[in-house]
């Protein structure tokens, strides 16, 4: 049976206008945060989106959950285009799509008790109007995410970072959503706590049949969590592949460079590898390079092709979908990425 897409994103674009002038302001340019992104998310899978800061991964997350309005393009959720919907039209759909945020400190209202934070989704959507019943549901949720239900009346500051992130998870799953978008859910946590939250998300996905869109910059975490992974660079997807394929044979030189840059906690492997260190910084998304946006930093660049002819996302050797004229060969991968399966 072919996997069924629950979300289909097509040619999604978000440009943030750059304005100039105090009284008569006019648009002088645009930050092309997301610039023509298309992908499907299958029901029940975890799709990872990785990339460096400024690549548009968080903007993509906010567009899918419609916390931002897209400039153009479509987002089909169960066949319905939500890209142009009004707030009113969106409200019933918000139950199905929830978000977990990066910072467990600023994403919880410091003046509200944990109980009322987790109960908020019920109140907003008018579910469980009975106070006693609602409290029971909230306490069940707290138990489900590994919090002590007796801590119902505590305030966020009484909890550690890991516990706060559990509160955020409880709030996100309160309405039994179908899709959870997790935007860097563990990057603010200590390593020993990070594993607890990752295991919790996996468990909940298994129990509740969640579809997860998992956004992170840590490639090891993404590999552990995701079934398929999209790599973004400057507002575009440069490679999309199953987790095993992506890490075993990255085809886009950018993916190769990212994997090569990840420090490996093994001195023997670390010493054996020939690092591919990218020069320079990510160019400004307000003025991205022509054609292939990676050509200014690419070790395999061929001027005359890469800076003139934009590469299309197409299937490369091994099944990866990549946007590159000169994808990495197996021997190049073996040299740069020591963790790639031989």
């Amino acid at each position: 049976m072919a996997p069924e897409p629950i979300i289909q994103v097509k040619d999604l674009v978000k440009h943030f206008p750059i304005k100039s002038g105090v009284i008569i302001s006019r648009q002088v340019g645009a930050v092309r945060a997301v610039d023509g992104v298309s992908f499907d998310v299958n029901a029940g899978e975890t799709l990872g989106i990785v990339g460096e800061s400024g690549c548009g991964k968080s903007t993509t997350a906010r567009l899918i959950t419609r916390l931002l309005e897209p400039t153009s393009g479509s987002i089909l959720y169960e066949g319905q285009d939500i890209a142009g919907m009004s707030r009113k039209q969106l409200k019933p759909l918000r139950r199905d799509m929830q978000m977990i945020f990066q910072d467990p400190y600023s994403s919880l209202n410091p003046r509200k008790t944990v109980g009322s934070i987790i109960a908020e989704p019920f109140v907003v959507h008018g579910i469980e109007p009975d106070d006693g019943q609602r409290k029971k549901r909230v306490q069940e949720l707290m138990d489900q995410v590994g919090l002590n239900p007796e801590h119902y009346n505590r305030l966020p500051h009484e909890f550690s970072g890991g516990q706060r992130q559990r509160i955020g998870v409880a709030r996100a799953i309160a309405l039994k959503p179908k899709v959870v978008v997790a935007d860097e859910p563990v990057s603010a946590l200590d390593v020993s706590i990070q594993a607890q939250i990752l295991n919790l998300l996996r468990e909940l996905q298994h129990d509740l049949g969640l579809t997860i869109i998992f956004i992170a910059h840590d490639l090891s975490v993404v590999r552990h969590m995701c079934d398929r992974i999209a790599v973004m660079y400057l507002g575009k997807i440069v490679e999309l592949a199953g987790a095993d394929e992506l890490y075993a044979h990255p085809r886009h030189p950018y993916t190769g460079a990212l994997l090569s840059a990840v420090p490996v906690p093994d001195p023997v492997l670390a010493a054996a590898k020939k690092r591919q260190i990218l020069g320079g910084d990510v160019p400004s998304p307000a003025n991205p390079p022509s054609a292939c946006r990676f050509h200014t930093r690419c070790p395999k660049v061929v001027l005359g092709t890469c800076d003139v002819d934009p590469p299309a996302l197409e299937v490369k050797e091994g099944g990866n979908v990549a946007a590159c004229h000169f994808p990495l060969t197996d021997s190049e991968i073996a040299l740069q990425v020591p963790t790639a399966a031989a």
Partner: protein, 359 residues
């Protein structure tokens, strides 16, 4: 080789309204010229406070500092504030985690670098400016002389961290303390910065203390590793030993709780149960015992000391589990068994659920 820095039994306590915070408790280590010591630990383990104390940056009214910090044989803890000013940024330089807030936002990069040079060297402004441009070029900022006139906000995060490194190195320090220098940066930029620190170190023979929570980073750039927990060093040894034959249950926990690229994708993560203890009310006995899956009755009452492991005086550990048993447990963990199974095989019977409360 004679150590450049020798920290002996360093203890730092802060008296606060809530009680006495035991931030650092009897920490000792040495660093030789040209070598890199990695200090690993989670937030609140005392890794930053111990190095800030080396720099004399924890001298607050409520701080009580004991022990010795011998730099080149001189005890920095007894140095006056005026003497410390000649040390900081001179023979010992420090790079902080957040490159945005460590630069003054309203002064040009050049002025800040010139100030750092003139603070320690009696040179003209023009000469200091030459030195600043030279350092910027050395850390890989293109068009260095022109960029001296830029403000920090005109630089990206990675470039700002390079400026911080340039500032740290402009007086040819003999020692560099880098406190989470790459934590705020993307992986590709992190790779650039680590490569830079490594290259400069081999060129200038600088001793480096690298503080981080990322085991991958320490594996790539350090020579020796100290693992800190609850204000103490719980394990210390040469890098290869720490990774090949780690001895402390906390080190095992750290190694098994991170997802990594070189293990099977479906290998489950084993989190460390519970959470770091309060530094005000520390657990009795071994401070790690409430989270340790291999806890024995004596761990609750007896506070272990840092002892060398058999046949290797350079590798020390603070743990009551006999060495032979530790070896067996690590072999089990390495083979993919869970801590609970490994504990039972080692003949330790206790309820692991007890320790997994909270998080």
């Amino acid at each position: 080789m004679a150590p450049l820095l020798e920290v002996k039994d360093l203890t730092v306590r802060f008296t606060t309204e809530d009680g006495v915070v035991n931030a650092v408790d009897g920490v000792s280590y040495t660093v030789e010229p040209g070598r890199t010591l990695g200090i690993v630990g989670e937030s609140g383990s005392g890794k930053s406070v111990s190095s800030l104390t080396v720099m004399g940056l924890t001298r607050a009214r409520n701080a009580e500092i004991t022990g010795e910090v011998l730099f080149d044989g001189k005890n920095l803890l007894e140095a006056s504030e005026q003497e410390m000013r000649t040390v900081r940024g001179g023979p010992i330089a420090m790079i902080f985690q957040d490159p945005m807030s460590s630069l003054h936002p309203m002064y040009r990069i050049g002025r800040q670098l010139v100030e750092a040079v003139q603070m320690h060297q009696k040179v003209s402004k023009a000469a200091a400016r030459d030195r600043a441009a030279e350092m910027l070029a050395l850390v890989g900022i293109p068009d260095a002389r022109r960029r001296l006139d830029s403000y920090p906000h005109e630089f990206s995060g990675g470039m700002r961290q390079r400026v911080m490194i340039a500032m740290g190195l402009c007086n040819n320090p003999r020692m560099l303390i880098a406190d989470e220098p790459t934590t705020a940066l993307d992986v590709t930029v992190q790779a650039q910065i680590l490569e830079l620190i490594r290259r400069l170190q081999s060129e200038l023979d600088t001793a480096v203390i690298l503080i981080t929570h990322d085991l991958g980073v320490v594996a790539e750039v350090t020579d020796d590793i100290a693992v800190m927990y609850c204000g103490r060093i719980v394990e210390r040894g040469p890098k290869d030993q720490i990774f090949a034959a780690p001895q402390h249950p906390y080190t095992w926990g750290l190694l098994k709780s991170i997802p990594r690229l070189d293990t099977p994708r479906d290998q489950p993560l084993v989190p460390i149960a519970g959470r770091p203890p309060s530094l005000i009310n520390r657990p009795t006995g071994c401070h790690f015992h409430p989270r340790c899956p291999y806890v024995r009755p004596e761990c609750v009452t007896v506070d272990p000391t840092l002892e060398p492991i058999p046949n290797d005086p350079t590798h020390v550990v603070r743990c009551l589990i006999p060495a032979g048993e530790r070896k067996r447990i690590w072999a089990d963990l390495k083979a993919g068994r869970t801590p609970a199974v490994a504990a039972v095989e080692a003949g330790i019977t206790n309820d692991p659920e007890e320790a997994s409360d909270g998080a």
